[in-house]
Every structure is written in structure tokens, then in C-alpha cells.
Amino acid sequence: MNEALSRTGTRLRPGALSFTFDGRQYTAQPGDSAASALLAHGVRLMGRSVKYRRPRGPLCAGPEEPNALLSVGTAPEVIPNLPAPQVLVRDGLVLRSQNRWPTLKFDLASVLRAGGGFLGAGFYYKTFIWPSWRTYEGIIRRLAGLGEAPGRCELPQGAIEHCSCDVLVAGAGAAGLTAALAAARAGARVVLCEREPRCGGELEFETAQIDGSSALEWIASTLAQLRSLGVRILTHTALVAESCGELIAHAEPGGLPGGNTMYYIRAREFIIAMGAIERPIAFCDNDRPGVMMLGAAERYRAHYGVQIGARLVLFANHERVYSAARRLMAGGMNVRAIVDTRRVHQLSTDEASSRLRESLRSDGVECLAGHAVTAALGRLAVQAARIELLGGSAPHRQIPCDTILISSGWTPAAQAGLQQGGLAQYCAATGAFVAENQPSGRIVTGAAQGLLELTAVLRDGHAAGARAARAVGALGNSGAAPDGRGDPEPAAVTFARAPAPSSAEKRQFVDLQNDVTVADLRTALAEGFRDIEHIKRYTTLGVGTDQGRTGGVLGAQIVAELKGESLAEIGASRSRPPYHPVTMRSIAGFHVGAAVKVARRTPLHDWHSAHRGMLEPMGLWTRPRYYTVHGLSAAAAAVEEARRVRSHGGIADGSTLGKLEIAGPEAAAFLDYLYLTKASTIKVGRSKYMVNLREDGMVLDDGLVLRLAADRFVATTSSSHGTHMLSHFEHYQSTQWSNRALTITDVTEAWAVIAVAGPSSRATLHRVLGGSWSAALDRLKHMEFTDGHFDGGDLRLLRASFSGELAYELHCRPASALMLWEALHTAGLAPYGIDALDILRVEKGYLVSSEINGQTTPLDLGMEALVRLGNPCLGRELLDRAAFQEATRPRLVGLRALDGHGQFLAGAQLTGAESATRPCGHVTSSVFSPTFGEWLGLALVARNLTLEGTILTARDPLRSSHTAVRIVSPVHFDATGARMMA
């Protein structure tokens, strides 16, 4: 068949696009899907099945397509598994079929078809036991899987949009359009989303009259009204999930990533009008290319103008097959026979239906009631249908045909209604399940609720829209429900599979994507899998990209038949989001690559970066670990920086310190409550090292508290704890100190901090800050500060040390930080990073989160003197618990290698002489000290073993290290503090 013959009455725009499929060039019209374009060229074989490599063509015309999954693009940038009906053809598009080698027509692995029997349900579990699964795993994995993962795939970034509306309508078929119009007319803000490129659903091909117009005219008029009422219409947009009160819809125009958008929609009312999906029928070789859903054939005809075959056999169990036959014939197709599983007495007897059947007969269509198609004949394409009288003994007959169109009714698309407490309820009218028990704010309407007759659908959709509008307080006039008449009631009589001998059941396909057959379902039942959820997992029924839309209910029907139970008793397997395949990139959102999480930067970030600072994320902050020097390793660079601070001096960026300004007449009392020692005793112009406890007595954080004025303090926190400490403070302010005269303000970013440490720090500051600061520099004692100005900006000069050296902190506004830093650098102070800071603080026995780890009390950390002051602060009472006094509680100690050379690392377990396997503590911090020329550490060790001089072993099996260590004072360096106080 050439394309010219296969197109009639297309609604596509004229024009020609060029694309390739498996290397061969084809033409398409703008708006064509890959499936429609290939079908227009007579191409039906579009892929092979995943397990048996059976030849397959498109079954559907939407994203539920289980067979025709294509790879798009050229290696290595290939996107696999895109349903052909969803892929919008663009000029130059490269398409490739999947699961075949070397070619689609001649696939070597299809010899597995011969083994269809032994590849049944549970095959892997039962077969590859000896010698072990690993023996076969490689081969099986190479054969398994849908398509091939791309070698490289830089998918374009998707957009995100957060929006809200009064009423979200999912689905723009007859019910959805009517509901949206009713809600919008009443004054509600409405968003309408539709997964297809166009609105209308089955109205696009159904013979319908609505309010005196054709269905297509009504769709156009309704869309115009919706737009004039401000309704936002999102086509190509499928509702995929809901989470945390937001409905998530995904737009992927053309079925390809690129221009895709993830919508997060907060809707006060949610109308589910997602229609229904036509169900297939199982019969022998019902997977042959040329077997297609009846509705799909109608869509290909109505929208794309594609004649999907020259000689058609229609196989269904309902009345609508006759209307469909008439439309297909009007589209130029030759319908050879209509095979209706219903007996003659079950056919509709109304005049119109009888007349329609009669006219079809008179046009040469054979109408066979009480019959079934029991097999499709042909290999790469259907060549004939084998037909048998149901329940009779008449011999079967064959009708030559190239297409078998099937339909056994419709399954409501109820996935979205089955979340948030919605329950699946059997619906006799559809022979499937609908979503009941909807929570407030959710309405299921139209075919999704089991309504299949147009008049009822329109009324129900209108009522849903009006009800949703009222619920959001939009009380305008919703207008009248449209009056429509379409295809007759289906009057379906349940029929799931054609009769077949048990030997042929392995060729009756239920889930085409996963090659699940009736034989597989029978095996699962025989092996004790009774529940539909277990059967699903054992057989893989409905677990592919189509998520059981075509085969799910059919499988449940067949299970019911095999078990001799009703479908209502069997139930339906649970559907889970996403209801529609979504590109992982879209789910990942915008935080990808280097921006996987937000990064905070200090005002000196660019300087560090430009001066070879090795910047690394620490919490949310990005900080320099060390500054690279030619020829030095990271460890050596840090050691050199620390050595320089001890011998001369250095500068470090401390802007990341958390800073909370607590102000008001009750600020001092509030801080007294939150800290182990009193803030109220701090004099203005002084600071104090203070410790916070949690309610359970564990140390939460430590830092300096500066008293700026009688009623104003700044509390510094560790860098990683700033946000947490703000929450901690605000929690107690709002719960136990509410409406008291105090305020808490985060001023972390309002102050940059430059630490100036080392013997030369004071002299350098004299030179840099100049004469106006000289008196202050000479006067300030340890832990004192003074405020002033430097070069027009605020400057707070604090004498405090985290290195054990004479040191100062310059707190300045961020705008002044770079100028001050560069001045200090030019004056001879080199920068040092976090690694050097770690060396300096371990030498001095200062604590960080390794020691303040949420499991240590102040008593564990050697702060008895602070506890003895007796401030009745938060957490203080629990320090008196007996458990905190036990001999096995940890205690902070210092460590050195026994031989003066050995290395031990943080994390190593410490064992005593009594047991080599039972640890008595662990190393919390360790550094190589340039001051002592050996490894030093801090550790938490059971109190009964903390006598100085005690010998322990630092065991580090992961790094194959066992080092004898000696317990020493945690203050390794300058125990009297002489250097700091100089």
C-alpha cells in the first residue's frame, strides 16, 4: 500500500516531513505520529516483544500502546521505549525498532518463540538454580529489557511550573469539556489538562450531535468558550501523580523530552474525567501485526486519515461495533465481517440498531452473532481470521483479512481516583472497576465513572463542573447541560477470551508488552498464587510502560474465569503513580549536575576561588579546605598553612559562623535559659564561650556570645548549625517565652568574619587598620571586642581565638570584607583553610561536631566547671541523672601515638588491654601536628580508662591500621594559654 492510497480526509496540515525508520526513509505530514505515518505507508511491523521476540505492530493510538515502542535518535544519544502513537514526527527524526537482531523481519532470538512453553511464568526462579543464578545472569540480562539504554543521553532540561486554580479538570473528552465549561461559567478559575495533542476524546470520531451541532463543531465551540472565560487549556499534558496536596501533570509535546514541563497544581477541586480505555480480547496469536483496538483504528482514520487495512474483520462483544463498521466503511475501508460474541437474542432490538445491522449486511458485511475469532493467521502480518461458533460444534472457518479490530468494552481510567483513599468498586455496566469513596474535593465523572452513553456523560460532566464550582464559592450560572446523542449504549456482554485448547493458551496474549499469556495465568494459579496482586508480580501482568491499561482488567477477567469466581471477587490490582510514563529528567527537576543542591557562598568566595582555594561543600556552605601550592599534597598544604599560623600568622574566612542577634529587655534572661552558663553576667563589650544543651542534657552547640548592649547580644553558632540554632531559639521563644520582650534576628549574612591568627596578628592589624584602631588593639583583652568604623564601614574587632594563638576576629559588613581581606593579605598574612584550622584546634583541644555529636554531655566533654556554676538552664536538670555519671560514659581525652611516629585516624576504635575486640571508645579527631611533628588526636573513651598515660590500641580494620596510643590531656598545645593571652 502506498501512502496516497492510505490517506483520506486527514485533519493534518498539508506539507511533507521526512523521517527514517530502521534506516529507511519515509514521509509524513505535520501532526503525524510515528505510528500514523508508518501505518499510512503500510508499515505494520514496528517492533518485537520483549520475551519471545514475536513480531508486533501498534495495538492502540495513545500512550497505552504496549507493542510499538521505538528508540528515537542516533547512537549514543538514543531515547528508548517511546510509544509510536505518542511520538510526533519532526523533519529528520530517526526512529528505530527494538528488541531485534539483526533486523526487524529476521530476528535470530525469535527462535525463543519455539520455547514459549518453557519461558512461562516464574521461569527464571525455577530454572536457573544450579549451579547458581550468577552463571546465567549475564546472558539473561543481555536478552532482557525493553530496548537498549542509551550510551549517552543529554536530555534537554524540562521546565517546572507551580500554579493553582479553583478547579482542575483532568481529561478533555466530552465529560471534561462539559465540566470545565460549567465550572468556568459559574466563575471558577479552571485549568483543563489533556494528555493528547487535541481535545475531544472519542468525540473526534464518534457519530454524535450535541446541541444541534456535529461533535467536531461542538468541540471547537466549547474550546472557544473556555478560552473566552479564561480557562487555561494544557494539551499534551497528562496528569501523572499527586503528592503533598499538589496534582502533578507532565507535558511532553510530541512525546519527546524537549520543551517538556512539569506542572505542580494546587486545585481546590479536582475533577477526574480521564475517560476509559478500550479492552482487548485474548485469542490465539492475538498479537500479530494487524490486530488492533477498534477505537484506535477509528482514531487513525478520523484524525490522521489513515486506512489501517484493506480487508477488515471486527471482533467485539457490544453494539457499538456496528456504528464503528459503518464509519470505517465511510472512510473507504472494506469490512468483511463483524464477529459479535453476543448471541442473537442479546443484540439490541431497537429499530436504529436493527436497521444499521441490516444495512451493513446489505452492503456485503457478514454479521456473525454468537461467534468469536479464535485465531489470527499469518506470521509477520494478519492474513486471515479463524472464526468459530461459540458453544457449538460447527467447524471453524477462515475469513481472509489483513486487519482484525477488537473491542471487549471499556475500562474506566480510574487511576487518579484510586489515590487518597479512593476505592475500586466493580461496575457491572462496564464489566470493570470504577473509583468510589472519593474524599471531599474530588469528583470522578464521565466514562471514568463508568458512563458510556453520550447523553449521560454530558449531564454528569456538567453536574460535576457545577458542583465543583459551588464548592469553591463560584455561584454564577453554570448554564444548562448540553444535549447530545451519540453511539448507542454498548450493551456489552462480558467476553474476555476466545475458547482454545489448553495447548494453545500460551499463544493467547493478555499483556502484550510482557508476553503474559493465559497459560501464564493458569500456571500462577496452579502454583498457589491466588491474589491478583501476587499474580501480577509473578507473571509481570501489567507492569510495563502501559501499566496494565490494556491487559490489566483483561487479565483479572481471565483469572476470574479460571478460578470460577466473579471479577468483583478477584478485584483489580492497585495502580500507583505515575499513571503515565515520565522522563526521569522531568522528575529530577532543575537541581541537576553541579546544582544538585543550593550552595551558600561567603563574600570572599570569588577570592578563594581565584587564589587556588580548594572549595568544597560543607553543609550548605562552600568553603576552602586549603590553598593549593605547587608540589604540595592536600595534607602537606594544610600542614604548611598551620605551621605558618603558629610561626607568623594567617587569615581565615569565618563568615560562615552563624550569628543570631537577640535583643530586648528580656534577652539576657532568655540566653540564661538557653545556655549552660549565664549570659546576664557578661559585661558590655565582652564575649564568652558558651554551650547550649538539648532538653535531654546533651550538648547541642557551642560558640561565643557577645554583649553589644545591656539589651542586645550576638550569639555565634557553629557554621553547620546556624539554621538549626535559629529554629531552636525561635522554638523556645514561641513556646515558653512568647510575648516576652525579646527578638531574635538572623544576622549571619549581615556580618562577614575574618579570623586573624598568629604571633604577628596584632602588629599586622596595627598596620592595616591604622592609628584609629591602635588603642583598641593594645587595650583589648582576650574575649573583649569593640565596635567602630573602618573605611566608612562598620567594623567589630573581637579578640578571640580558635587556634590557641594570639588572634582576632574582624566582623565587618559583607561589602567591606574583600577590601579588608586583601589588605591583610598584602600585609603579609597568608590564608589558611579548614584543614589547617582543624590542625590548630586539635592541638589546642577545641571541639567541633566530631566531639559535640549529639551523644555527649558537658560532663563527657570535660566541662564540669561550667556545670558546677549551677545555672538552671534548659537541659541542666537531666545532667544529674545517674546514667550520666556511670564509669562507662565517654570522656574527652587527648591521644598520641605511643612510639611518637604511628598514625591513627578519626573513626578508629579504641581497645584496652582487657579486650582486643570490645571497644572502650573511639578517635573523634586526628591530625598530623607540625608543631609536635607527630600525630595527635582527640577521643571519647570510657571514664574508667582515661587516666593520663593509659595505653590503648587504635584499631582501624577498614584502613588496616593498629596503633598503640597513649592517653594525654586534650590540650596538647600551650596548656596555660600564654600565647593566646599575649
Partner: protein, 167 residues
């Protein structure tokens, strides 16, 4: 489907002095506070529609570039023992996002229309960055905490490029 050309501009504005004023308790019944907006989310503007004070959280105001009159007003409240002034110069970087696409750009991070439906400003997390957002004549003014500003702008620019490309 977007049909119009996406148009949006992101500008970093020069940093200036900024204050926060925090009431000890809110709402307060002090009759001398008629100049203070009672509802969080309100913005006090001058006759030229320049932003004077943003009531961005209950009882908490951001005062960018405080004028003499505004300072006097804050001092009066502070002296009356109602709250405290805290200087936060450098805490925020001010940005403006303007143009017809401004709302769509910000909607990449949050449902901006819903947030500002009944208020003029709000403290929120936008593109994972803490910020104060306010309506401005041709778009939005944003005070983003300065340590986050670089990432905020990077993300916003990335979305702008994406939306421009997708139009």
C-alpha cells in the same frame, strides 16, 4: 503550549543599608501605631510607589534604605518599648525580576500567584533560597539572603534561558 515570546529581565540592584524591625508581640493594641500596617504581607510605599517597609512576617518588617522619616517611625516604636531595630545591612541582595514573563519565571519555583493573592509581600523559600518577595510595578522585587544570591541568580537565569528557548 506557550505561544507568546517569553520576556523577562533579572537585575541585581546595588546593596544599601537595611534594617529589620521586630515587635515583641504582634498584633499589638498600642493606639500610637496607626502608621503600621496590621496585616502581614502589606507594603508601606511612598507617594512615588517606592518601597519603604515590607511587613514580611507577623510583627517583622524589612526596611530597605530607610529614610529619615522611616527611621524616626522605627525609633518611636522602639523607644515606646514595642520592639527592636536590628541593622541587617548585607544580609540581603536585592534583585528585580520584571517583564511579562516574570510571574512564569518565578512559578518555576513556587505558585507565586497563590502566595501573593491576598498580600503584597511574603517571606518564602524560592529556588531553595530564603527570600522576601514583593510585588513591584513591572514585576517583582526580591531580597534574597546574600549567601544564596549567586545560586538564586544562576537558577533563575537557567530557567529564563529554558523558557526563552521553549517559547
Amino acid at each position: 503550549m506557550r505561544e507568546e515570546k517569553f520576556d523577562c529581565r533579572i537585575d541585581r540592584l546595588p546593596a544599601g543599608c537595611a534594617l529589620e524591625f521586630v515587635f515583641y508581640a504582634w498584633p499589638t493594641a498600642d493606639p500610637g501605631l496607626s502608621d503600621w500596617s496590621g496585616t502581614a504581607g502589606a507594603i508601606r510605599r511612598d507617594p512615588a510607589q517606592r518601597t519603604l517597609m515590607l511587613h514580611f512576617a507577623p510583627g517583622r518588617w524589612l526596611v530597605p534604605e530607610p529614610s529619615v522619616e522611616t527611621r524616626a517611625m522605627l525609633n518611636k516604636a522602639a523607644l515606646a518599648g514595642l520592639g527592636m531595630i536590628v541593622e541587617v545591612t548585607g544580609k540581603y541582595d536585592q534583585l528585580s525580576i520584571t517583564g511579562p514573563g516574570a510571574t512564569r519565571l518565578l512559578a518555576c519555583g513556587i505558585d507565586i500567584e497563590a502566595i501573593l493573592q491576598a498580600r503584597e509581600c511574603a517571606a518564602l523559600t524560592l529556588f531553595d533560597c530564603p527570600a522576601v518577595l514583593a510585588r513591584a510595578p513591572e514585576g517583582y522585587a526580591i531580597w534574597v539572603q546574600s549567601s544564596y544570591a549567586a545560586d538564586f541568580v544562576t537558577t533563575a537565569e537557567r530557567f529564563r534561558a529554558l523558557l526563552e528557548g521553549g517559547s
